[in-house]
């Protein structure tokens, strides 16, 4: 007697998989045949699994025959295994090559361990890493100072070629973008503040306002943020890829210290370049201001510059340039730090670059606040 329930088949190429279920009372038999292969399941696997589960439920005591199964791939084996409840049926007829497959599945016994959720990793990324970052940054800064001392004693040890390449990449190539951003910010800033000052008839004070904010605050900040974004990320990515390629290990083994060969040239380059970029950005921003002042408030450029010279204490220029030096060093050290901390996988590289840029900018703003407090009484007329 043929049971109505157990008859299904599928697949398109060759002899497809096939199930025949006979249910003559006690001696129920389920016979599988054909190619039980991944590709011949054209439908969705959950349907297939449900189908098999129904089959097992309908014939709980059945004898299973897989004699005529020509191919049995891992997916089919796993599906059968799960339908059988992770054990072979009491009566089952298997080909020897399929027996090994099920033996493996039996050996795996318990279900594969659930994936360790990366969540725990995220939770741990709380306070302790922050501390370890701070300690490592401090150590790296100390290392840079020691390296600088060593290079002063023995200038030939400095990789001059790397230094000049870094100066070119972080400095020369940053000129257009810093000039453009500075100029536009100058135009917008002057336009908006000019409107406010006009209400009090204090048009000409735009020069005082623009001079002090741009030279002392805006220029260094703009330059630092742009450099953190373009050079800082590049430094982290470059050193990170060197970790991926085992170049860092190779350097260690060859006795080339990372500090002297990688960190120092980049830190020195930014130390040298940042004050220049700050000056450049400030000039571009003021130029934007000059333009907007002429158009919006009718202040002639000659008048603007004259008044700027008269009202801006020169000390502010010094503070701006000093900020440039400090910000440059901070961005370079933070970027190198995250580059060196990269672990040898691509996801870690991505995280490092993000963390590097975010941390650089945050550290720069913190440092800027410290500057504001330290120099609060200097260079400002009352």
């Amino acid at each position: 007697m043929q049971s109505g329930s157990g008859h299904m088949q599928g697949g398109q190429d060759g002899p497809a998989w096939r199930v025949d279920a006979a249910d003559p009372g006690a001696g129920a038999q389920v016979r599988l045949s054909g190619r039980w292969q991944l590709r011949t399941f054209s439908g969705r696997q959950p349907d297939m699994a449900a189908e098999l589960a129904r089959l097992v439920a309908a014939h709980p005591q059945a004898a299973w025959s897989l004699r005529d199964v020509t191919r049995l791939d891992s997916l089919a084996a796993v599906l059968l295994w799960r339908a059988w409840g992770r054990r072979l049926p009491d009566r089952v007829d298997l080909r020897p090559e399929h027996r090994t497959l099920f033996a493996r599945l039996a050996a795996m016994s318990a279900a594969p361990s659930a994936p360790v959720a990366p969540r725990s990793e995220a939770v741990r990324a709380g306070v302790r890493p922050l501390l370890s970052h701070a300690v490592e940054l401090l150590a790296l800064s100390g290392q840079v100072l020691l390296d600088i001392a060593r290079v002063i004693a023995q200038p030939s040890r400095l990789p001059w070629r790397d230094l000049s390449a870094a100066v070119f990449r972080t400095g020369t190539q940053a000129l257009p973008i810093t000039a453009m951003v500075g100029f536009l910010v100058g135009v917008v800033f002057c336009y908006l503040s000019g409107r406010q000052l006009q209400q009090f008839g204090a048009d000409v004070f735009i020069v005082n306002l623009l001079g002090i904010t741009v030279v002392r605050e805006l220029g260094p900040m703009l330059a630092a943020i742009l450099v953190a974004g373009r050079s800082g990320s590049a430094i982290t990515a470059q050193i990170g890829v060197m970790r991926l390629n085992q170049e860092l290990d190779a350097m260690t083994v060859l006795g080339l210290p990372h500090g002297l060969r990688l960190v120092l040239p980049r830190v020195l380059a930014l130390l040298l370049v940042m004050p220049l970029l700050v000056a450049w950005t400030s000039v571009a921003t003021l130029a934007g201001g000059v333009l907007a002042a002429q158009v919006e408030l009718g202040i002639a450029p000659g008048q603007f510059i004259e008044r700027l010279r008269a009202t801006l204490p020169i000390l502010n220029v010094g503070i701006g340039l000093l900020k440039g030096v400090v910000f440059g060093a901070l961005v370079a050290i933070v970027s190198c730090h995250f580059g060196l901390r990269t672990r040898p996988d691509t996801a870690s590289l991505g995280r490092s670059v993000t963390a590097s840029v975010v941390t650089s900018i945050t550290v720069v703003i913190l440092a800027d606040a410290l500057f504001a407090v330290t120099f609060s009484g200097m260079g400002l007329r009352r």
């Binding site: 292969q37 696997q45 959950p46 699994a49 796993v78 795996m108 994936p115 040898p344």
Partner: protein
């Protein structure tokens, strides 16, 4: 021309050129169903480029590569996807995704089918890993945390994740020490017996060839200079062939002191 029955992979008059450098000229090769073909040759003979051609990663300047009866250069995305579900590749460098753990690396091709339960996917992946002798304690390790030999085995598990009909192995034993290499060859033998795929091995290791290959193709100067069983090919009088088979006998090879063992 319809490909003859039983030919899984057919290369006809293949020509590869990079700029002015011709890598392959008029190269023809057939791989028959169920055989284990080793493609051997010295470094720079164009082995790896040939593999890239077979995988459709390079486009031939002339000639064509037919896989499962489909010309690779004339396939659309769906056909290519169908072909790629039927073959598996073990890359020389492993090609494991460094951001994923071992289990997820093996599960990836199964997940990409997009019609399987994730629980089933993980169980199949775990089964594949157990086939290559990787236990559950290593399932979550990233490739960087695995030893070279283990990473190679995870790569193999990923290559066989879909029970491929056609398996490409690029330098399967390169960079492994002789003991590990022998173990890996034994593993390949075992899996070849269990899964019975057609295998194409790119190698320069004579021991691998002797242990696994049913046929050998010697690649030299951009073409196949000898093709046949190991014994047949060893008898061919060609500098490239004798260079390959006499290498160890001359003691020129480093790292392996076994006496030459040709034929099976």
């Amino acid at each position: 021309m319809s490909p003859t029955e039983g030919v899984v992979l057919d290369v006809e008059g293949l020509e590869t050129r990079f700029g002015h450098q011709t890598v392959h000229r008029d190269l023809s090769l057939q791989v028959r169903r169920g055989e284990v073909l080793a493609i051997v040759g010295g470094s720079g003979s164009g082995k790896t480029t040939l593999l890239r051609q077979l995988l459709g990663l390079e486009r031939p300047v002339a000639g064509k590569v037919t896989v499962f009866g489909t010309d690779l250069a004339r396939t659309d995305a769906a056909e290519r996807a169908a072909i790629r579900a039927r073959w598996g590749v073990l890359f020389q460098q492993g090609g494991l995704f460094s951001a994923l753990g071992a289990l997820d690396n093996v599960a990836l091709p199964l997940r990409e089918l997009r019609r399987l339960d994730d629980e089933v996917v993980r169980e199949v992946a775990a089964l594949k890993l157990s086939m290559v002798g990787i236990g559950p304690e290593h399932h979550h390790k990233r490739p960087a945390q695995l030893s070279g030999g283990m990473a190679r085995r995870v790569g193999l598990a990923r290559a066989i994740a879909l029970d491929p009909e056609l398996l490409f192995l690029d330098e399967p034993t390169a960079g492994l020490d002789p003991v590990l290499a022998r173990g890996f060859v034994a593993l390949l033998q075992e899996l070849a017996a269990e899964l019975a795929p057609t295998v194409v091995i790119i190698t320069h290791d004579r021991e691998t060839v002797a242990a696994l290959a049913s046929r050998v193709a010697v690649l030299s100067r951009g073409r196949i200079v000898a093709l046949g069983t190991v014994a047949d090919v060893a008898a061919v009088d060609d500098p490239a062939v004798s260079a390959f088979f006499a290498h160890d006998a001359a003691g020129a090879s480093a790292g392996d002191t076994d006496p030459p063992r040709v034929g099976a």
